[in-house]
């Protein structure tokens, strides 16, 4: 393993707008910057529609970025053509949200897991391919008997493990996990999270972990970024965000998590977030959160807050925090 200090992934002022009919734009991702060190995990959290999935898909170049730069291991990949990207695809892989939609129902598990090998012409012989797929499947707890079956015969957790096997068989360095656990049962979520942590330690993987709530993210992330309407509103070390959340949105998200303790749950009331996410086609002026923020002032409505370092390593964009 080479020792260097270049971040595995560096994203600078990434912006992605989608056209939405008559000269309107969906501001899916707006000026987002972050970087992830090698072997670390950044958790990206926000409600559906906040742009976290668009961000992930732009980083892996399924979507073309509107502007901004993406550096993978120091190399700028934001302007490469799909053909030029091919060698970089081996370095970054993606795990998808829906274990049902992310596996082709017409292919056997073996073919699904072997697809990356075939795309990059890695195996010279069938035998070699077979061996690699078998080994990878074993690592995610599936055996040869499973390999010849079709995805629809599996349970959700098993399918997601097939998705993990497909992403990891190329031995990538960066894995983008796009809500890999949201569609799973609670007991299975823990399985998948533990498996991802295990592989991270073993293969020194770097994760960009997308989730819609903060509860599971804690178990995988070193840093956590909170997104709201296409923008990062807070980013800091994982433990810090649970201990000292600064942005009112982060506070609201944290208090929305169901408390698995009936004694505490009955007392809890009043906190949490009010209202719905505004439309990303016409985001609110000033601080985009002001429509739902309990502390909103005139200033929040007019002036967008700056991205500032409130404490060492703790960044936040909110007018209530001064320096």
């Amino acid at each position: 393993m080479k020792e260097n200090n270049t971040p595995m992934l560096q994203v600078q002022h990434l912006t992605k707008h989608f056209p939405a009919g008559s000269h309107k734009l969906v501001h899916a991702v707006d000026d987002v910057s972050f970087s992830i060190e090698r072997g670390k995990t950044l958790g990206l959290v926000g409600e559906s529609g906040c742009g976290k999935s668009s961000c992930a898909r732009t980083v892996i170049r399924i979507y073309e970025p509107t502007s901004g730069k993406i550096f993978l291991d120091g190399a700028d990949i934001s302007a490469l053509t799909q053909k030029q990207l091919l060698p970089f695809r081996r370095k970054m892989q993606m795990i998808f949200q829906d274990p049902y939609a992310s596996l082709n129902a017409r292919m056997t598990v073996h073919d699904i897991v072997a697809e990356p090998l075939r795309a990059h012409n890695i195996c010279a012989t069938r035998q070699e391919e077979h061996e690699m797929v078998r080994e990878m499947l074993e690592r995610v707890g599936l055996n040869q008997e499973h390999a010849n079956r079709y995805a629809h015969e599996f349970s959700g957790g098993q399918r997601q493990r097939v998705g993990i096997a497909r992403a990891l068989i190329l031995r990538p360095e960066l894995v983008i996990c796009d809500e890999p656990i949201s569609a799973l049962d609670v007991s299975i979520q823990a399985q998948v999270v533990n498996m991802l942590r295990h592989f991270q330690e073993e293969l020194n993987l770097t994760y960009l972990f997308i989730a819609h709530d903060l509860s599971m993210v804690r178990y995988v992330s070193d840093d956590v970024g909170v997104m709201y309407l296409g923008q990062l509103v807070e980013k800091c070390a994982a433990d810090e965000i649970y201990a000292h959340p600064l942005h009112p949105y982060t506070v609201g998200l944290l208090s929305s998590i169901p408390v698995p303790n009936p004694r505490l749950a009955k007392e809890k009331d009043g906190s949490g977030l009010e209202g719905d996410l505004p439309s990303p086609i016409d985001p609110p002026s000033g601080c985009r959160f002001h429509t739902r923020c309990p502390f909103a002032t005139e200033r929040c409505r007019e002036e967008a807050p700056a991205w500032q370092e409130a404490a060492p390593g703790h960044f936040v964009a909110c007018h209530r925090i001064n320096g």
Partner: protein
């Protein structure tokens, strides 16, 4: 006092090309007046099929093959379609996971709720109905209720649609509300709002709720009593506090251990339940959880455990509660020796 809903030994099966899927294999429980009961289980545990069986809404090849479902003392198994239609909505209402598919996209939402009222209370005038719908919309905290009556479903967000569904379900003041994973498709922030809403509505009008979910955290927020289902059977049934503080089934323990706790130390790993849920075409011979259970004994693989009483209103289907079960390394030894019931 007679319970609102009494289910006895309910068995429901689906016929598929691969064989008979025994989705529910003999489930008995009751829901009392004003109570909110949570049914917890993984996908495939039979929790949704149980609720659909109660509503007589099984589709395709699904069939109730045995048992009885009594609503307010009236037997629902084998009841006529027409009669059931008059009960549905009036005595028992249901809300579903996906509020978009449950609403007609071509009709204004106010109209749809009003239609529900009209179906059951023909003597209400149009104006009366409209007033009632507006009142219902205020009750489910839809902002600017009067204005939104004329809106179409696509103009609403997921959370707002679910509120409309709840308003529709409450229209005829049913005795029992069945909520089938109503928050699973929503964001945590919206889930939180909906749970608060349901809690306050229940306090206000005191109806019974049967809440189906896969998340014990959600149950902790809302329910008085919990039923844990696995492999088409009830594994454990207890008061909410009892279940969280003295779980008497390894499956419940596993579920509790796999919930992330934001107050916990990060370095501690989650304790997942290994393996996958059983295929109900070939349910395990013994306890359905035995292949995944860390405490499984030989007997667990061979024989279906009986139901043991572990305390006041607390029953569990686990061999470890048997008086003969070994004490060593037995997580349930504190509750052991309960009556077989």
């Amino acid at each position: 006092m007679e319970p609102v809903l009494q289910v006895k030994d309910l068995k429901t099966s689906f016929l598929t090309s691969s064989g008979e899927v025994q989705a529910v294999r003999g489930v008995s429980f009751s829901v009392n007046k004003g109570e909110s009961v949570g049914i917890v289980g993984e996908s495939g545990s039979g929790k949704s099929v149980t609720s659909l069986s109660v509503m007589q809404l099984l589709t395709g090849t699904g069939k109730i093959v045995g048992g009885s479902v009594k609503l307010n003392g009236r037997e629902l198994v084998g009841i006529g379609t027409k009669e059931m239609r008059s009960i549905r909505g009036k005595e028992v209402a249901m809300i579903f996971q996906d509020p978009m598919t449950s609403l007609n996209p071509l009709l204004p939402v106010g109209e749809q709720v009003s239609e529900m009222l009209w179906a059951h209370e023909k003597d209400l005038s149009r104006a009366d109905r409209e007033a009632r719908v507006a009142e219902l919309f205020r009750m489910v905290r839809i902002p600017e209720a009067e204005k939104r009556l004329k809106s179409y479903p696509h103009e609403f967000s997921g959370g707002m649609r679910q509120r409309v569904m709840i308003a529709m379900a409450l229209a005829c003041k049913p005795d029992l509300l069945i909520a089938d994973e109503p928050t699973t498709a929503l964001d945590v922030s919206i889930q939180d709002q909906i749970l608060k809403l349901m809690r306050s509505i229940q306090r206000e009008i005191g109806m019974s709720i049967m809440f189906i979910t896969h998340d014990l955290g959600v149950v902790a927020e809302l329910c008085n009593r919990v039923i844990v289902m696995y492999g088409g059977l009830i594994m454990e049934q207890a008061d909410i506090l009892d279940l969280f503080e003295h779980p008497c089934h390894p499956y419940t323990m596993g579920l509790l251990a796999s919930i992330p706790d934001i107050n916990q130390d990060k370095q501690k790993r989650l304790q997942p339940i290994m393996g996958s849920p059983p295929d109900m075409i070939h349910p395990p011979k013994g306890c359905p959880f035995s292949p995944r259970c860390p405490y499984a004994c030989r007997v667990c693989l061979e024989e279906l455990p009986p139901i043991y009483t572990a305390g006041e209103g607390h029953v569990s289907r686990c061999w470890l509660l048997d008086a003969d079960a070994p004490a060593a390394d037995n997580p349930l030894s504190y509750a052991k020796g309960g009556k077989r019931g």
